[in-house]
Every structure is written in C-alpha cells, then in structure tokens.
C-alpha cells in the first residue's frame, strides 16, 4: 500500500521513480505517512534543500514536514516548512488551512507552557483576557484587561485593547466616550501607537467633529505612513469638510494601499466627480462596483457554505 502511495506521489510530482532524489523524497513522505517522523525528518529536510526537486515535490515534502515537526514538537521546523509553503503557494486554500491549524496548535501549546512556567505572571492575565476575546466574551475580556492594568498600570497596549473591545460591543450612549478615553490613555503611555490615533479619528468622524478627525488621522499617518485606513479616514473627513481638492491625495494613497476597499473607491470617485474629473470618477466608480460586488458575492457564498442550514425534505 505504501509502495503504491509512493508511486502515486512520484507520478504526481513528475519524478522518475529511479531518480535518487525522487526516491528520497518519496521515502520521507512514506515514513511520515507511517508515523515514523524521527526517520522521516532528515529526508524531508533534505528534500526541501535539494535544488533538483520540483516545487510540487517540495510541497508534498513540506506538508509531511509540518506534520512531523508538530508530532515531534519541533516548532521552529514547523514554522520553516509553513514559511516555505506560504511563500510558494500564497493563496492556496490547503496551505492556508494547514497554517490555521499549525498556528492554532502552537498557540495552545505555548499558552500551556506559559501557564506551567509562570502561573503568577501578568502575561497569564493578558492571555486569559485574549482568550475571552477570542471566545467573543468581550465584557469578560475587558474585565480581565482591567485586572491586568491594576498590576501594570503603565503597560502599553492594554488601554488600546480595551478601547477596541468597547467599540466592538453594541454601541451605547456612553461607549464612544469610554473608548475615546482608553485610546487617549494609551497615547499617553505610548505616543507611537498609530492605531490609537486612527480610532480617535474614527470616533471624531462619527461624531461629526471633522477638524479633530483630520488631526488624528494625520497623526496616525505620520506614525505609520502605510496605514491605509488612516489615509482613507483622512480623505473622507476632508471630503466631508468640503476640502475636496485636499482629499484626493490621501484617498489615492488609500486606494493604492487597499485596492479592495470599495468605500475608498466610492469616496475617491466622489472627489473626482466634484472636481470635474469625469473619467477618473468613472474608473473609481467601476472599481467600487467590482470590489463591492466581490465582497457581497463572497458573503453569499460563505453563508451558503457554512450556514449550517438543515433543509427539510419537501
């Protein structure tokens, strides 16, 4: 059976069965399939290094290598195999799926290691908060972060996390103000936090305080010039302020950095239209249409695939 599997592998990889390199790769994969990871790993490592192997052969070796690395708890090896796969196959669903599992498993293992090694550490509290966050229990996550702040009031990043969680919860009459305070507190501890500046900009924009929004978005961009959302926020705030000509550059930058964001294309199209640049406006409206339809098409497909709907027989 394993001989057959190795044969199929060789055919699929486009290798001649009698080539010594191919035989080594096939043997490594075969051993991995049998669960003999200690024996398989040197062969798989070699398969990845050997320039004579095809990309497809290396892909199979890398998949087997990831599984054996995880079995042997060789985390850095697993990361190396994954890194190669992501580089060679950046949009491959199987690679993405494997990466999700590997990183999730590594996360669990290291969490347990942290708990075992330093149960009193503030990092354990942070980890706990992050776990609540992952489970969607945002109120408990906020409470846990606040416990952490009692122990480490000057720890950067925590006020920012709380602010973000407040914004992720259903909005209340006071939530914007509460979030704003957290982001401001964060900036006192860490004035380099561009994301905090960005969120302050968004809060100001939603409150129709456009000059304030422009100030925060500009600060975010100064800290992180490649911040697409901040460029978009700045452009939209300028557009809403009637400063159409000024809005074009940040919106163009945002469109360049985040070409799949339909809201940016819409804002840029509107700016062009107001400036009489009809062709540019038409191009951006077309991009808005394409990107918006893609998002909604993907959403529909997602709902169809994973809705869990049980259709009753008629």
């Amino acid at each position: 059976m394993h001989r057959t599997a190795a044969f199929v592998f060789l055919v699929c990889a486009g290798l001649r069965a009698d080539a010594p390199q191919a035989a080594a790769v096939a043997r490594g994969v075969e051993l991995a399939l049998q669960g003999h990871c200690a024996e398989a790993m040197p062969l798989l490592d070699q398969a990845m290094r050997d320039a004579g192997n095809s990309v497809d052969a290396k892909r199979k070796a890398a998949f087997a290598g990831v599984r054996c690395s995880m079995t042997l708890n060789k985390q850095s090896d697993a990361m190396s195999f994954i890194a190669w796969l992501q580089e060679a196959y950046p949009k491959d669903p199987e690679v993405l799926f494997l990466a999700v599992h590997v990183f999730s498993d590594l996360s669990l293992r290291n969490s347990q290691e942290l708990l075992d090694t330093a149960p009193d550490s503030p990092l354990v509290i942070q980890l706990n908060a992050e776990n609540f966050e992952k489970q969607g229990d945002l109120a408990k996550a906020i409470a846990e972060y606040r416990i952490l702040l009692q122990r480490q009031p000057d720890k950067p990043g925590i006020h920012f996390r709380i602010g973000g969680l407040i914004m992720d919860q259903p909005a209340t009459a006071t939530s914007s103000e509460e979030a704003r305070k957290e982001f401001e507190q964060e900036l006192k501890l860490n004035p380099q936090n561009a994301a905090a500046e960005y969120y302050l900009g968004e809060l100001a924009r939603h409150g129709d305080k456009l000059p304030e929004a422009i100030k925060h978005f500009s600060s975010a961009i100064a800290l992180y010039p490649e911040f697409a959302e901040a460029h978009a926020g700045l452009g939209r705030s300028l557009l809403d302020s009637g400063k159409t000509a000024d809005s074009v550059t940040p919106l163009e930058t945002a469109a360049k950095l985040a070409p799949e964001n339909p809201a940016v294309h819409f804002a840029l199209a509107t700016a062009y239209q107001r400036l009489g640049r009809k062709q540019d406006a038409a191009r951006e409206f077309a991009l808005q249409k394409r990107t918006a339809e893609k998002i909604n098409r993907n959403t529909k497909t997602l709902h169809k695939n994973v809705s869990g709907a049980e259709t009753v027989k008629q």
Binding site: A309, T311, K313
Partner: protein, 561 residues
C-alpha cells in the same frame, strides 16, 4: 407662464373637524406629558381584522410579511380612513375564510371606525396572500383607488365614488408579472410628468408554497435565510396610458436591469431636476436608486450615489424605507431600517451624492437591538424636525427578544437622534411582531397619528396626544394639470422668523404601506408663516404669503395659460 395664484375662500379651508378631533381625544392626553404620546383607540371599535399570516409550526417563507396599511380618505368626507391587507391559508394560498379578508375601516369622526369592507367590495375573497397596498387616484376622478400586492395575482381596485370599489385588474393591463413573482410593495408616482399616476411594484423573488424551502434546526423549523435559497427578480414599472389602461414598461424603462429583493419603496426627486426617482430597499441585496433620466428610462445609480450599501459596502437586510428632508436643507434624504445586529441606514443627500450618516446620527447606538420593518419620518411633536418612527419585531419567533416594541427616534436639529420611545406611552410600547405602519392625521388635529399592524394581532390605531402646544400647518394639494394627488409636488415653507422647512407629497412609506397624502408641517412655537412655495410636478411654481398656523389649507394647482 402661470397666473399669479389667488387664494379664494374655496381653496382655503380651515378644517372644522380639527376642533372636534381635539375634543374627542383630549381626555386621553396627560397634561404633564413632556412630549406628546400615543394612545391606541382601536379597541373602541368593533374590529374583526387581525394580520393573519396563518402562523403554524410549518414555516413558509412569506409568513413574516403580512399586514400592509393605507391611510386614505376613500369617501372624501375629510376624515382619513384605513385599509389593511391580509394573508391567506397556506399552502392553499387562498383566503379560505373571513379571518384572511382584507379590511376597510371608515372613520366615523368620533374616535371609532366602522368596518365597511364588504359593502366596499374589498374583502378580496378571490385574491390570495396580500402584502403591500398603494393608494392613489390613478384616473384623476377625485376618488382614491387601491393597488394591492400579492404572492399571486396583484389587484387594482377602482374607487367608484359611491363607497364601493371594482376590481379592474384584468381590463387595466396592470396585473401582469412572471408567474410566481412575490410582489411586496407598490407606489404611485408620475414618472413622465404627463399628469397620470404610474405604478412601481417592488418584487422579492419567485415563490409559491410548492417551491417553498423548509429549514430546521434540531427538528424545529425556522424561516430560511433568503441568501441561501431565493434569487432576486426585477421590480416592475407600469405606465399609465390613460382611460384606465396601463402598459408594463419594465423592460424599456430599464427597471429590468436592476433586480432586487424589493421591500420598501420611496419616491422623490432626489436630484431636484423635476423628475421623480425611485429608491427601493432590497433585502440582503444592494439597494436600488433608480434615477429618472427624463426620457422614460431609469438608471440604477445606487452604487455611484452611495446608497446601495452601508459604510462598509455590505448588503444588509434592508426592510422599509422613507425619503424625506430630515435636516431641512432642501434636499431629500433616505432612510431604511434593517434587522437586529445591523445598523439602520440614514443617507444625507449632498446634492451630487449621498453620505452615510448613521454613526453621526447615533443610529449605531440606537438601532442595533431592533429588527425594523415599516418606518417613516414623522414630526410627531410638531417642532419642525422630522423624527423617525419604526415598527419593530424580529423575523422569527425563536430568539428571546424577538417580540419588540416600536421606536421613536427624535430628531435633534437635523444632526442626531435620540430614543424617546419610553415616553411615547404604554400603547406605543406594545411588544409583538410589528410589520406595516402608516402615518396620517386621523382626527384632524394637526398632529400626526400612526396605524400599525402586528402579526396575528389586531392593528393599533395610535392617536397622538397633541398636547405640547406646538403649531402646525397641513396642506391638501390638488393637482389640475399635474396628477390630482399632486404626488411629487415640493413645498418650501418659511416661517415668520425666517426658518425654512421642506416637505413633498409622497404617500408610499415604510414597508407595504401608504400614508396620508396631505403635506404636514410642524412649526414649533411659531404661529405666522411668511411664505409657502409649491413646485408642482409639471413645473408650475405657486407662492402663498402671510398665512397663520394651525389650519388645513386646500390649494389647487394653477393651470398654465
């Protein structure tokens, strides 16, 4: 081109009924009320109507939609009457008995209503599961007619002027649509400015009880997600040819190129170019804004004008819609509501595009807990700012907070809104599965009232307590060259202190419903009106000056010389 208007006494009628109205309902008002509130007067009348969607454990896709409303004065006695549509037995899709009949209530003027459905010939026994209703005088004979949307056959009822109606669907040519088309809402408007009301119908999908999908979890059925099983279909446009005849112009008008899962329809001249445009809220699809090009064709510019999606370009479950100028800047804005967990959409008309202002208006704080269906801009406190009413209740009865109360979001100076529902009175806060709603002044006291349907319950007729002392003006516009209902006429009112208010004639409102066609203005504390400018659909501009508040004005359109 047009003669200087002269207001003769025959055209300026102060409604005496308004005084009587205050008396009938005055006893219900609390003098301490900070804001006007609402009292349900439906229990005072003998009403057998309930919005019967044939609720059962077997859940059909159509059942969450039932109970369209029209507020109209069908007998021209000066008092607004009410019409309700109703469901049908499923899967038979037939009105198998009186509990499924439609209902016409005649306003007696004393706070009670009389069921005159049978006498009027509007029971609809021969129809099936009815949804929306549109009221309009399509033949300009001075009597309001009714168009009723259905899962099966749509129907046009001609008002005979003697308290009866005749089903003229077959001879009118307005009933045609692809088999199985579920028609949800309809709106009368004159798209080609020929003085005759045309009709737009929002369609949802192709559905029959036989093609209905069944969805269940752990053996319990629930209403299927429309994204999974139901495809959008084109909305339809019918051109009024005169003499009671209509032509289906869906293809040649361009409507066929903008399919959707149509719910609410809102009519307005969004571009202020003299041609009426159409906004259609589509459930789980991009909303449509069909811009009238003035040559008989329309182009869906929802995307490029910024109303197709919310701020993140995601399609939401758009339900009912309304289009009014909420910020009094002279441009008509758009509102739609949607389901729990989403944010209701408010789009400010900037002239060349729309700006999504739900966060600025505070809807992200106010609306997330509610599933809204019908809705409408209503200046319930007559302060001159149009507030937002929504009829709420979840799609299904599964979630613990599925039964919901209505909401009133008060407009604070055309910028933000605040939830004042808790002050609207116990009857307003009734929890259930609210669906249709329409706005109108049922007791002619100058304060707008509400009529609301709820699944498997009697309707509520919510009378405004009208007790905050604010002033008002109501215009009844009568077209003579334009369509007689004056649908599409724009009104600009300047108060004595120079405050400028805007409104326009549009009856299609919210979800499946049709409101009082009169144009209402709240004036706050002001009693004097410096001027009123009326721009009639066919171009005439009429000026009225130096008027006093708290009256009903009937204004006829000047004829071109």
């Amino acid at each position: 081109m047009y003669p200087e208007p002269k207001l003769s006494s025959s055209r300026l009628l102060v409604a005496a009924a308004g005084v009587a109205g205050v008396l009938w309902f005055g006893a219900l008002a609390s003098p301490q009320a900070k804001r006007p509130h609402f009292t349900d007067i439906a229990p005072r009348s003998k009403l057998s109507y309930i919005s019967n969607n044939d609720l059962s454990p077997r859940k059909y896709f159509i059942q969450p939609m039932c109970g369209g409303i029209a507020i109209l004065d069908f007998d021209n006695d000066g008092k607004m009457d009410i019409f309700f549509t109703n469901g049908a037995k499923l899967p038979e899709l037939k009105k198998t008995g009186p509990s499924f009949y439609n209902c016409l209530l005649h306003n007696r003027g004393d706070g009670t209503f009389e069921d005159v459905t049978k006498k009027a010939g509007l029971l609809g026994e021969e129809l099936d599961y009815n949804l929306g209703v549109a009221a309009g005088d399509y033949d300009n004979d001075g009597y309001t007619d009714l168009f009723i949307c259905s899962a099966g056959r749509n129907a046009l009822y001609h008002n005979n002027g003697n308290g009866t109606f005749t089903d003229v669907t077959r001879q009118s040519g307005i009933g045609g649509k692809p088999a199985g088309t579920m028609s949800v809402g309809a709106a009368w408007f004159d798209y080609d400015n020929d003085g005759l009301l045309d009709l737009v119908v929002s369609n949802y999908t192709l559905w029959t009880p036989g093609t209905d999908k069944r969805c269940a979890a752990a053996g319990v059925e629930y209403y299927c997600d429309p994204r999974l099983f139901y495809e959008p279909v084109p909305h339809r446009l019918y051109h009024n040819l005169g003499h009671g005849k209509f032509e289906d112009v869906t293809e040649k008008s361009g409507f066929s190129r903008a399919p959707g899962k149509g719910m609410g329809i809102s009519i307005a001249d969004f571009k202020d170019d003299g041609w009426q445009d159409v906004f259609i809220a589509n459930d789980t699809e991009a909303n449509s804004l069909l811009i009238n090009k003035g040559d008989g064709t329309f182009e869906d510019q929802g995307l490029s004008l910024g109303v197709a999606y919310d701020d993140s370009a995601k399609a939401v479950s758009s339900m009912g819609s309304d289009a009014k100028d909420y910020d009094n800047d002279g441009r008509v804005d758009i509102f739609y509501n949607n389901l729990m967990g989403q944010i209701w959409g408010l789009f400010q008309n900037l002239g060349d595009s729309f700006r999504y202002v739900s966060p600025q208006a505070k809807f992200n704080q106010l609306s997330g807990a509610y599933s809204g269906w019908s809705n409408g801009f209503i200046d319930y406190d007559n302060d001159g700012w149009k507030d937002l009413y929504s009829a709420n209740g979840d799609v299904d009865n599964i979630k613990p907070n599925a039964r919901q109360h209505d909401t009133m979001f008060e407009n604070l100076g055309g910028k933000t809104f605040q939830d004042v529902s808790a002050e609207m009175g116990r009857d307003f806060l009734h929890v259930g599965y609210q669906r249709g709603s329409a706005i109108g002044d049922l007791n002619n006291d100058g304060f707008e009232d509400l009529v609301v349907t709820s699944l498997m319950e009697p309707p509520r007729i919510l009378i405004n307590s009208a007790d905050n002392g604010n002033h008002w003006l109501v215009l009844e516009l009568v077209g003579r060259y334009s369509n007689r209902d004056a649908i599409g006429a724009k009104v600009k009112l300047t108060t004595g202190t120079g405050r400028v208010l805007y409104n326009h004639v549009s009856v299609s409102v919210g979800f499946m419903s049709s409101s009082d066609k009169r144009v209402h203005f709240g004036l706050g504390s002001e009693r004097q009106i410096r001027s009123i400018e009326i721009r009639w659909p066919r171009g005439a501009v009429q000026q009225l000056t130096s008027l006093t508040a708290d009256r009903f004005l009937k204004v006829e359109e000047p004829l071109p010389q």
